[in-house]
C-alpha cells in the first residue's frame, strides 16, 4: 500500500510518521509537499502533527488552504482513507472534513504525556481493535480541547463517530483522565463515512515497543 505524508511548513511529526510506516510497517511511503497539487497516486493520506504555518491566527486555519489540501479534501470525499494526527486533526476540522473545533487546553498548559484512550467504535482506522480496547499513546499539544455544539454532538453519537475517548489505564472514562477539557473526553472522531479519522494522540510515536508502546501501530495496520 502506498502512503502519503503531507509536509506543511512547521510540520514536525512527518518524519516520525514516515518512519512508523516505512521502517516499522514496511509500507511504501512518499512525502507530499504542501505546494504539491497531486497526491502521487497514494492509497492513504496522513496529515502529521506539528505547528503548520506557525499556528498563526488559529491552529490549522492557514494549512487548510494549502494547495495540497484541495486534493486531500477531494480524496476524502471520494472515500479515500485520511488520518489527521494532532495538528493534522486541527487541520481536518478547519477544512470541514470533521465536525467541531479544537481549542486551547482547559488547563492552558501544553500537555506532553502518555494517555490512555478507549476505542469506542469500529471503523477503517480502528478495525484491528475490539470495541473497548484501551490504547496507550502520547499526546503533545496546547490546543486539543475538542468542542462541538449540542446538536453536532448528538449527530456524532447517532452516527457512531466518536472513535476514541480519554480514560484510565483500566478504561474508566472520567473527567480526571481528560488532559485538555475535551467534551465527553473525546480524543478522536470519525467523519460520517468513517474514512477520515482525526485524533490528538500520536500513534506514530507509539508504534514500537522501544518507544514504550506499540498500540498505535494497530491504527495504521487497520487500513492495510
Amino acid at each position: 500500500m502506498k502512503w502519503g505524508v503531507v509536509v506543511f511548513p512547521g510540520s514536525n511529526c512527518d518524519r516520525d510518521c514516515f518512519h512508523a510506516l516505512y521502517d516499522v510497517l514496511k509500507q511504501d511511503v512518499v512525502y507530499l509537499w504542501h505546494k504539491d497539487k497531486d497526491l502521487k497516486g497514494v492509497d492513504a493520506v496522513v496529515l502529521p502533527g506539528g505547528f503548520s504555518y506557525g499556528d498563526y491566527l488559529r491552529v490549522g486555519a492557514m494549512a487548510r488552504f494549502a494547495p495540497i489540501m484541495d486534493e486531500v479534501v477531494h480524496f476524502a470525499k471520494q472515500g479515500g482513507p485520511v488520518i489527521g494526527i494532532c495538528n493534522g486533526f486541527q487541520i481536518l476540522v478547519e477544512a470541514g472534513l470533521l465536525p467541531g473545533a479544537l481549542m486551547r487546553n482547559k488547563t492552558l498548559k501544553f500537555m506532553c504525556q502518555d494517555v490512555f484512550v478507549k476505542c469506542e467504535t469500529k471503523g477503517p482506522w480502528t478495525r484491528k481493535f475490539k470495541s473497548g480496547k484501551i490504547l496507550k499513546m502520547p499526546i503533545a499539544h496546547g490546543d486539543g480541547q475538542y468542542f462541538v455544539r449540542d446538536n453536532q454532538l448528538k449527530e456524532l453519537q447517532t452516527h457512531d463517530q466518536i472513535a476514541l475517548r480519554y480514560c484510565s489505564a483500566q478504561g474508566d472514562v472520567e473527567e480526571k483522565f481528560n488532559p485538555n477539557g475535551s467534551i465527553l473526553n473525546i480524543a478522536g472522531v470519525y467523519n460520517k463515512k468513517k474514512n477520515v479519522l482525526g485524533l490528538m494522540p500520536h500513534p506514530e510515536r507509539a508504534s514500537e515497543d522501544l518507544l514504550g508502546s506499540s498500540d498505535g501501530q494497530g491504527i495504521f495496520e487497520s487500513v492495510l
Partner: protein, 80 residues
Amino acid sequence: MKVRVFVTLKDDVLDPQGRAVVGSLKTLGFQGVQDARVGKLIELKLSTHNKTEAEKQVKDMCEKLLTNAVIENYKVELVS
C-alpha cells in the same frame, strides 16, 4: 479603507485564557472583576474606498479564514 475585525469566542464557549486573566487580576487586588473574555483584533487595509464593497469583502474573509464559525463571533468596524 481601514477596517477592524473583532473576533470573540461565542458566549457559550469556555474561555480558559479569560478565566486565567480573571484569576491574575484578582491576585493583583482587582476583586471586582467578574469575568473576562479574550478576543482578537485584526486590522485590515483595503484598496477599496466603497463601504458596501469593503463590508462584502470582509464578510467573505471572515467566513473563509479569519474566524471559525463553530466557536467564534465577529464584528466589523469600518474606520476610514
